[in-house]
């Protein structure tokens, strides 16, 4: 304790600078956590928690008793995994490619263009997808034009294509934005290493592989571990907007499920229970991934 106090005194300027942010985090991130208590009670807004009936783990059990929950878990894990693999690697590759561009103006232009979709709402993205993938859309027009198909395909009605379409849409929307942090990490790599690499006969691919990638590896690991923590957050708006009654079997994820069976039905305790379960599970995964990363790659975030 004394050690902690001494450390605080020694670094008091830093603590004072951080005070507002820490207060904000405490008020808005920590205090609301106490609200998780309602997941163990049959709570109605306006009632005192003392008057609410204690139901233990009922709402956690309720989730797993709902028909179709296994499909929902499968969809959540598959969509998240696609994001954590293809969706995670794409911005890294994009950042590496962007780093290879010599013309600064062109490089900045491409970078700006690439993160613009991030600011486009999912409603607009869905509308674009409908236009592109509709029976009168560009894709069907091109495929029928070159004779690959003779009848238009209703892409968004096809279960087998939904995960792919969703992943592509997620990548298109988020790739440029996610690449910013890697581009920033790349600029931090010591340029002398590249000079040394040139002397050793490394080409552009060799430098990217042997210098740039190892240089940004801590950032990659950090983001990957944090990404694993969000594995049960597979999206929400995009599923509701791009999905339809025919693709529900493959688009329904935990968040859309809870929206319907919790929020829309006014079952706040149930919604809170699911949120708590997701957080606990995500936290456990972060700990686990961190440990594995520490043992295997000797890199950990805490």
């Amino acid at each position: 304790m004394k050690k902690l106090f001494r450390s605080f005194v020694r670094q008091k300027e830093l603590w004072i600078i951080s005070l507002i942010a820490l207060t904000w985090v405490f008020i808005f991130c920590y205090i609301p956590m106490a609200g998780n208590i309602i997941s163990f009670f049959e709570y109605y807004p306006g009632d005192s928690i003392f008057e609410c009936k204690f139901v233990g783990l009922k709402y956690f059990r309720d989730l797993f008793a709902l028909p179709g929950i296994l499909k929902v878990l499968r969809n959540t894990l598959v969509i998240s995994s696609l994001g954590l693999t293809i969706g995670f690697v794409t911005p890294i590759i994009f950042a590496l490619l962007l780093n290879e561009l010599q013309n600064r103006f062109f490089k900045r232009f491409i970078q700006t263009i690439s993160y613009m979709p991030y600011f486009v709402s999912w409603v607009v993205v869905a509308s674009i997808m409908f236009t592109v993938l509709g029976t009168d859309g560009i894709i069907n027009g091109a495929l029928t034009g070159i004779g690959v198909i003779d009848k238009s395909i209703v892409f968004l009605n096809e279960k087998s294509m939904f995960w792919g379409i969703l992943t592509v849409a997620n990548i298109w929307k988020g790739m440029g934005w996610s690449a910013i942090i890697y581009i920033s990490a790349i600029t931090g790599v010591d340029h002398e290493l590249y000079d040394a690499g040139s002397v050793d006969g490394l080409g552009r691919f060799g430098k990217a592989w042997h210098i740039t990638l190892p240089g940004i590896a801590p950032t990659v690991v950090l983001l990957f571990i944090l990404g694993i923590g969000g594995i049960l957050n597979a999206g929400f708006e995009q599923q509701l907007l791009l999905g339809n009654a025919l693709t529900k079997d493959v688009y329904e994820v935990i968040d859309t499920f809870v929206y319907r069976y919790g929020i829309q039905l006014g079952r706040y305790s149930f919604s809170t229970a699911v949120g708590l379960m997701k957080s606990v599970f995500g936290f456990a995964l972060v700990i686990l991934a961190n440990k594995i990363s520490g043992k295997v790659a000797d890199m950990r975030i805490f």
């Binding site: 106490a34 306006g46 409908f130 238009s152 339809n244 025919l246 319907r260």
Partner: protein, 589 residues
């Protein structure tokens, strides 16, 4: 030591913050108001027996009556900005003539969220309206709604008279009354679920009679599509599409043609059967599937929202309207008349058509339904200092004249109506032209603040019947409600030729489905059953109607019925039936 200190801090934070917002608040005093005794209201200025009512039927209080009302989701800034100037006009009239001020509050968050926050913080106004039953019940369950059981007898004569036995549906099991209906009454619309078609294209077919069954409708649309395979942009045309990503509009319309209510068939012995457990249900699925397989339904129908639906109908790509009537109204002549100006041909429009399934009489269909008590409620909360006066105001809103003023604004030369010399309610001649309705009626009404404060009033068809007397209303208009009207000739026909075309083939009569109204409590198992079955049917229906063969459609139908029955469909059916029986007993049938 370090661990212990951190543990203590974490525990303290959790405990303190858990209980900090959980108190009931200091509402003991206000709570007394929830059981207000109407006879002990001497301290409040109650419009009472000793004073005469003014020309509008309202006993003007000596002290200004101010009512604070939370009215759901909306843009408060825009409301207060009063762009049309109508709020200022109506506020002035209310204050000068009635000595009443209404403090109307809107919030740009969902009403459910806001009400829950209000309840949790014990901070809500005197009146809350536009509530769902579920939300109103929260106020009642927590003792935050005023008991109106006695008050309604003393101050609510218009409400009780005009609602008749329907008021009993709002009562609790013990007969007490805590909530009022908002936007209630008989549906004034001419059309409901529609089997519509382009009128000009139908005329081209030269058929002497209009189609009367779904099968005849199908045949007609096939012929129309054959004559018009593409629209002006060269895109392939279709007969129908959807707007809800599920294709439920086809199901709803077809169930209406078979006379089902809420998805249930009422059997001869009075029992209910869910459509999935009926022969008719299978026929419906097969019919819609046939439409899909034969390219009458647009392949992208599951991707459309409302905007796309309207755009595709307007562009001439969708030539029928297998859905609710007004989609075709908005996308059809209302758009074309504006866009085409003088070149517009009156026959270029959608006609709304009612059809009855084979073997079903038109009078037994449920294409046009009316739920008298509506879906919205109003409570006078325990914060209200003068519940008697507030209820008196709501009662005035429900007098014939109060009803009309609330919906159409105060009478004046600058409004769409005024008192005639003989005391009748004469509408402005300009509103008799339907084609200029948007400017001559809706716009002028908005400039007079019409309809901005409806606390617990109705959207009833304003006509003289056993409950109401609207003899003073201008006879040149009919189907009048707080939001609309239609000009008519002396013989009762619509005076606008286009309107007669649109509705000339709609013969289904309104079916009162109030007795079928069923409510669900969030935490009840049956609510979850209802939701899971609804979700299952939503997917299954889409698969059935898009099946590539009829056999596949039938197999999917049977599979869905089997699965939903296993999920508790019979329990759900029983629940609806018990609710119906209970409603019948309440209504005294």
């Amino acid at each position: 030591m370090k661990k212990r200190a951190i543990s203590v801090i974490v525990v303290l934070v959790l405990v303190i913050s858990a209980f900090s917002g959980c108190g009931k608040g200091n509402n003991t005093e206000e709570g007394n108001a929830s059981t207000a005794d109407p006879t002990s209201a001497a301290s409040t200025e109650t419009p009472g027996e000793t004073k005469e009512a003014n020309e509008f039927g309202w006993v003007v209080p000596d002290e200004t009556l101010t009512i604070t009302v939370y009215a759901g989701e909306g843009d408060q800034e825009e409301f207060l900005a009063d762009v049309d100037g109508g709020k200022a006009v109506y506020d002035k009239w209310l204050l000068d003539t009635m000595n009443v001020v209404i403090d109307w509050q809107l919030y740009s968050v969902s009403m459910e969220e806001k009400v829950n926050l209000m309840l949790a913080s014990n901070d809500y106004p005197e009146v809350v309206t536009w509530l769902t039953d579920d939300l109103a019940n929260k106020f009642i369950a927590q003792g935050k709604a005023t008991d109106l059981t006695q008050l309604i007898n003393t101050y609510g004569d218009n409400i009780t008279r005009r609602m008749g036995g329907y008021l009993n549906f709002l009562r609790e099991d013990d007969g007490s009354l805590y909530k009022l209906a908002q936007y209630w009454g008989e549906n004034p619309n001419v059309a409901g679920q529609d089997f519509g078609a382009r009128y000009d294209y139908w005329l081209e077919l030269g058929e002497s009679d209009i189609y009367k069954t779904p099968e005849e409708y199908y045949d007609t649309m096939v012929k129309i599509l054959a004559n018009h395979p593409t629209n002006d942009d060269g895109l392939q045309t279709y007969a129908f599409t959807s707007q809800d990503k599920t294709g439920q509009n086809f199901l709803t319309a077809m169930l209406g043609a078979y006379g089902f209510v809420n998805g249930f068939k009422v059997n001869d012995d009075g029992t209910f059967s869910h459509w999935l457990n009926t022969e008719e249900g299978l026929e419906i699925a097969k019919f819609v599937n046939k439409c899909y397989r034969n390219n009458l339904i647009e392949p992208d129908f599951l991707a459309n929202g409302y905007e796309e639906y309207i755009a595709k109908q307007s562009s001439g790509q969708i030539l029928g309207n297998f859905a609710t009537w007004w989609y075709a109204w908005v996308s059809g002549h209302q758009t074309w008349a504006v866009n085409e100006g003088d070149a517009y041909n009156i026959n270029k429009r959608f006609m709304n058509v009612s059809v009855a399934a084979e073997g079903v009489d038109m009078s037994d269909t449920s294409l046009l339904t009316s739920n008298f008590i509506g879906s919205y409620r109003c409570v006078i909360t325990d914060k209200c200092k003068q519940p008697e006066a507030v209820l008196s105001w709501i009662n005035w809103e429900n007098s014939e004249l109060g009803n009309f003023i609330t919906g159409w604004g105060a009478p004046s030369e600058s409004n769409v109506w005024d008192f005639a010399e003989d005391g009748t309610w004469k509408v402005d001649d300009a509103i008799l032209d339907v084609d200029t309705k948007e400017t001559s009626y809706h716009q002028v009404k908005a400039q007079n603040g019409a309809g901005i404060y409806m606390i617990a009033t109705n959207c009833n068809w304003l006509k003289t019947d056993e409950y109401s007397n609207f003899d003073k209303l201008d006879s040149r208009i009919d189907r009048v409600s707080v939001y609309d009207y239609w000009p008519v000739n002396a013989d009762g026909s619509f005076s606008n030729e286009g309107v007669n075309i649109c509705w000339g083939y709609y013969s289904a009569l309104p079916k009162d489905i109030t007795l079928y109204a069923t409510t669900f409590n969030a935490e009840d198992d049956i609510t979850i059953t209802k939701q899971t079955i609804a979700d299952q049917i939503e997917s299954d229906w889409a698969m059935m109607i898009t099946a590539s063969t009829e056999d596949e459609c039938v197999a999917l139908f049977n599979q869905s019925a089997e699965y939903c029955n296993a999920m508790g469909l019979q329990d759900l059916t029983d629940y609806y039936q018990q609710s119906y029986e209970k409603n019948k007993a309440i209504f005294g049938e």
